[in-house]
């Protein structure tokens, strides 16, 4: 390959080495650094110097092989040997930097923050999914006419998910295919859900958001739906992972906090407001949770109704105080900062 020529000639012609470095490693590293910064922002990677981390990841993948190859020592490594070397290198890297939670143990990260509206018909589910940190579900009443799946799924995964949901949840689907529509959002492949949903703590309006809308689904829609989502979002949906998926679903279902309309409509709205102002980013650290004044304004609710809703959400363990704005125990203080309890 061309880098071999450069190795051979760079001493005599330094401009060659520099050209290769500029066009190759330097730009490649910049791309990897950008990816790692994002992974750190999203809590998928420990905070550290992304430049060094990027360099180490690449060097580890060559550990013990590159020089022998360069100097033509021993046989050319087989594909299996290269793969084994890379797995070892990446394991080392992940042990130092990783925060990925392997399936299915990421279920332990599914906090009690699912909010289910079971009373309205037609039933519309609006779900927001955050990788690794939590899965949040916001169900809001509305009158959508079709099922829409938007996500950065590959087309194959989306189609598996769509068929599974159709078969499991929507009996009327067969009779009414127009109920069902899939959009594969054209989202940059390197982006994760969270960065699509929230950008600098704000709902990312110019991206398609993960939205599953169900019309006239059954009362227990949420249960298999959760399972499917977890399975689909946690890795490939496979037959052998189904028992694990069911365990996760059972655990999650036990933790569900159910909000019902009309009586909890204000609470749902407040929660939605919290989602919009990017409360989920709190878990990823770095940003202060929104103040009560901000939340109140974002909810558009009258102050008294909003306070009632806030107390309800706190009492059910959905929201908690991140920081008191003034005197402790004064829930109404506009400077209080609120977050979703995880």
């Amino acid at each position: 390959m061309i880098h071999r020529i450069v190795v051979a000639e760079a001493t005599r012609f330094p401009e060659i080495g520099e050209a290769l470095y500029e066009a190759g490693p330097k730009r490649g590293k910049a791309r990897l650094v950008a990816y790692m910064k994002q992974a750190m922002d999203e809590g998928r990677m420990k905070r550290s110097d992304p430049e060094r981390a990027a360099e180490q990841a690449m060097e580890l993948s060559l550990a013990g092989m590159y020089r022998r190859r360069l100097w033509n020592v021993g046989p050319i490594p087989t594909d299996e040997e290269i793969d084994a070397n890379i797995e070892a290198g990446i394991s080392t890297f992940m042990a130092a930097y990783g925060r990925d939670i392997p399936w299915p143990s990421r279920s332990t990260y599914l906090g009690p923050m699912a909010h289910v509206n079971l009373d309205t018909r037609p039933r519309v589910v609006h779900m927001q999914v955050y990788e690794n940190e939590l899965l949040g579900f916001f169900f809001k009443p509305a009158g959508a006419e079709k099922v829409e799946i938007s996500r950065q799924l590959g087309s194959q995964a989306a189609s598996v998910l769509r068929e599974a949901i159709a078969a499991t949840l929507l009996d009327e689907q067969a009779a009414s295919p127009s109920l069902f529509q899939t959009h594969i959002a054209d989202i940059e492949p390197s982006q994760s859900f969270k960065s699509i949903l929230f950008k600098q703590g704000r709902a990312n309006d110019n991206r398609k958001i993960v939205v599953f809308n169900f019309k006239d689904a059954f009362n227990d829609t949420a249960l298999p739906l959760l399972g499917l989502l977890i399975a689909a979002f946690s890795g490939p949906l496979k037959l052998e992972t189904l028992p694990e998926a069911l365990e996760v679903v059972k655990g999650l279902w036990g933790k569900l906090i159910v909000l019902r309309t009309p009586q909890d409509a204000d609470a749902i709205r407040l929660l939605d407001a919290l989602g919009r102002v990017g409360a989920a980013d709190i878990a990823a650290a770095g940003q202060a949770p929104p103040t009560w004044a901000t939340l109140l304004a974002a909810s558009g609710l009258p102050a008294a109704d909003a306070l009632t809703a806030l107390k309800l959400l706190q009492a059910r363990g959905v929201l908690e105080i991140a920081r008191w704005g003034g005197q402790e125990e004064n829930l109404e203080d506009p400077g209080n900062r609120w977050r979703v309890a995880l």
Binding site: M1, I2, H3, I5, V6, A8, E9, R12, F13, E15, I16, A19, L20, A23, G24, R27, G28, R31, L32, Y35, A39, R44, M45, A57, M58, L60, S61, L62, M65, Y66, R69, I76, P77, I82, D83, N85, I86, E87, G89, I90, F93, M94, G98, R99, D100, E131, Q152, G154, P189, S190, Q191, S192
Partner: protein, 100 residues
């Protein structure tokens, strides 16, 4: 007389030069490879070649840049997934490139 080639045609010609030059550099190394050899393989005159690249060094740098572009786009063309799988794939492609 100076004939101005359409841009698309010029780009195609440039690609062809880069591809031949890569072969020659790989076969002969940088020092031994000559513009004459490359021009001969191209079936054109050395003068034409110099219209595109003013020197061997400039040509070699262009070859490097085009190779890097190609390889980088291949290496980074990975669907979104968790960090470990992303890095494994990235490292796999990178290592194979470096071992080749």
């Amino acid at each position: 007389m100076n004939v101005v080639m359409p841009r698309a045609q010029r780009d195609l010609r440039r690609e062809a030069i880069l591809s031949i030059a890569l072969q020659v550099f790989m076969e002969e190394g940088y020092a031994a490879a000559s513009m004459s050899t490359i021009a001969a393989r191209l079936g054109g005159s050395k003068g034409t070649l110099y219209n595109y690249f003013r020197s061997k060094a400039e040509l070699f740098v262009a070859v490097i840049q085009s190779q890097c572009d190609i390889h980088q786009n291949q290496i980074f063309d990975i669907p979104d997934q968790d960090l470990r799988r992303f890095l494994s794939q990235l490292a796999g492609r990178f290592a194979r490139l470096m071992m080749s």
